[in-house]
């Protein structure tokens, strides 16, 4: 025997020489395929980034030429859409995260097994509904039904309580500026878009949260029970801390979805381009994605380039959010 290391291949061959006879064909095909697929991800991402940068370049150039004049400002054009995008997404998350947590905990720790399964399927189904359908449902069915709620919020919190008049910036303004302003029907406002976004990100967050809650080690939960913890105390001391990084990751994934969601926002929101906090007012906000979708068919030249620039901003924004999510997950994992 010329070689001393016993490889599995060698062990399989019952007769003949045990020398290495080159790499196995199937092995090399498979490893090359998987390496290629890995590279593909990288290439696609690079291609998108390069495309966005190149195509946005004319707009960036034009902006520099006209700098200081009122004619054309890249920042002025993009900023309100960034504001609208982030505001809608954040409000959607504020609504979706607590409900998702509760549903996930119900499925993982309270519901009988059969019901948990059924509920799990329904959550997955909710995630599979196309956004056009959510757009239709939101625009036609939901918007009129939210009107009484909006009027209530507007009349209850829209004017009261107010900050004391002597304060700078906020003096005399309502404390809860979100519900202030002058809402008018139909309520195609940012709040409605956020509600629909919340429904859309709910299944994503719920599904991931359920998984991480179910992964809580049985032994750790029993440790808490054996100390005399009630069910809620087990969840509070063991399940939630254990699942925290997963929940953060899930929320960030939901945020990514909400930031990029186009169709539902387009179909619900009456657009505007301001920095208004009054989410009940109509025609004040627009998201980057919906703005691109609504204008790109007629845009050309620098206008098109401008839209692509906003797309680049959205791309970078999503990137940053993902990086933050990763950092939080890495930092808040189980200590060891």
């Amino acid at each position: 025997m010329s070689t001393t290391d016993v490889t599995p291949e060698a062990a399989e061959a019952p007769t003949g020489s045990m020398k290495r006879s080159g790499r196995r064909f199937g092995d090399s095909v498979f490893s090359n395929l998987s390496i290629g697929s890995g590279l593909l991800i990288f290439l696609t991402l690079a291609a998108v980034a390069i495309f966005l940068t190149l195509e946005a370049w004319p707009a960036i150039r034009a902006s520099q030429e006209f700098e200081g004049t009122a004619e054309f400002s890249l920042i002025e054009y993009t900023a309100p859409y960034v504001f609208g995008t982030v505001l809608a997404a954040v409000i959607a998350l504020i609504m979706a995260i607590p409900i998702s947590m509760l549903i996930a905990l119900f499925i993982s720790h309270y519901a009988p097994r059969k019901m948990a399964q059924g509920l799990g399927y329904m959550i997955d189904l909710l995630a599979a509904v196309p956004s056009v359908v959510y757009g239709l449902w939101g625009g036609i069915w939901l918007v009129p039904r939210l009107e009484p709620l909006y009027m209530f919020l507007n009349s209850t919190f829209g004017t009261w309580p107010r900050w004391p008049g002597f304060l700078p910036w906020v003096g005399g303004e309502p404390v809860v500026a979100l519900f202030a302003g002058d809402p008018t029907a139909p309520m195609r406002n940012l709040a409605s878009a956020s509600v629909v976004l919340a429904v859309m990100v709910l299944p994503i967050i719920t599904a991931i949260a359920r998984e991480v809650f179910l992964q809580t080690p049985r032994l750790t939960e029993e440790a808490a029970l054996a100390l005399g913890a009630t069910k809620w105390e087990v969840i509070k001391t063991v399940v939630l801390p254990f699942g925290r990084s997963g929940v953060v990751a899930a929320s960030m994934l939901g945020l990514g979805r909400a930031l990029g969601e186009t169709m539902a926002v387009l179909m619900i929101l009456a657009p505007g381009a301001t920095f208004s906090w009054h989410i009940l007012e109509v025609g004040r906000h627009q998201s980057i994605a919906a703005n691109i979708a609504s204008r790109q068919a007629e845009a050309s030249g620098v206008d098109m380039s401008l839209l692509i620039f906003t797309g680049l901003v959205l791309f970078v924004l999503t990137f940053i959010i993902n990086a933050i999510a990763r950092a939080i997950v890495a930092r808040s994992g189980p200590k060891s």
Binding site: A223, L225, G228, S336
Partner: protein, 261 residues
Amino acid sequence: MAAPLPITVEDLNIYYGDFLAVEDVNVQIMPRSVTALIGPSGCGKSTFLRTLNRMHEVIPGAYAKGRVQIDGENIYDPRVDPVNVRRRVGMVFQKANPFPTMSIRDNVLAGVKLNSRRLAKKDADELLESSLRGANLWEEVKDRLDKPGLGLSGGQQQRLCIARTIAVKPEVVLMDEPCSALDPISTLAIEDLIHEMKQDYTIVIVTHNMQQASRVSDRTGFFNIAGTGKPGHLIEIDDTEKMFTNPAHKQTEDYISGRFG
């Protein structure tokens, strides 16, 4: 505290769903002493142990019928809240299971924070020290109380779990093969600790290691099953010395001598 009463188990039948796992246990467990439970795998000794603080029933479908009197109160009375039982009957598990997201300090105080909500800083520090001393761990960890509990060695983690258990001041401490995952030195440390702990607690320990049973316990109970699918029975329980030298039942003798021989 008045002189504690023995734990009295009467006609206890333990089930997993339809399956009768342990049949008809009748036994008295002496207070302030160590009772070891031995027997082959699957004989129901761990299952029985878990009925003493109503941890058995946290497994879906599992339940027990019968009476277990602790301090004269039947813990299987329908009016009894299992949460309150577990606050008085602590448990140490086979595998050390400190809370993974908590520091050493928080691990020890976790149970107390559940039971008595708010704790003054001074009281908390005192309890922390006395519990860790009680678990022979204080000297090893006093300089790193805010480090994660998972950073300790296996034996230290198990003693941390003991500290966490005695911090809530239970009357009874149940131990389910607490040394089975530990090296001989850590095992010795825990056995020494068990010796000290019986001054204050009633201890019931399940062990696969008969030398350990003979070293740490005052009384030993032997569980056995007639075959797979049959329920386990408590064959006999007696003073440890008698059990290991002159057991009343042939089964016990076979088991003990088989393992030693």
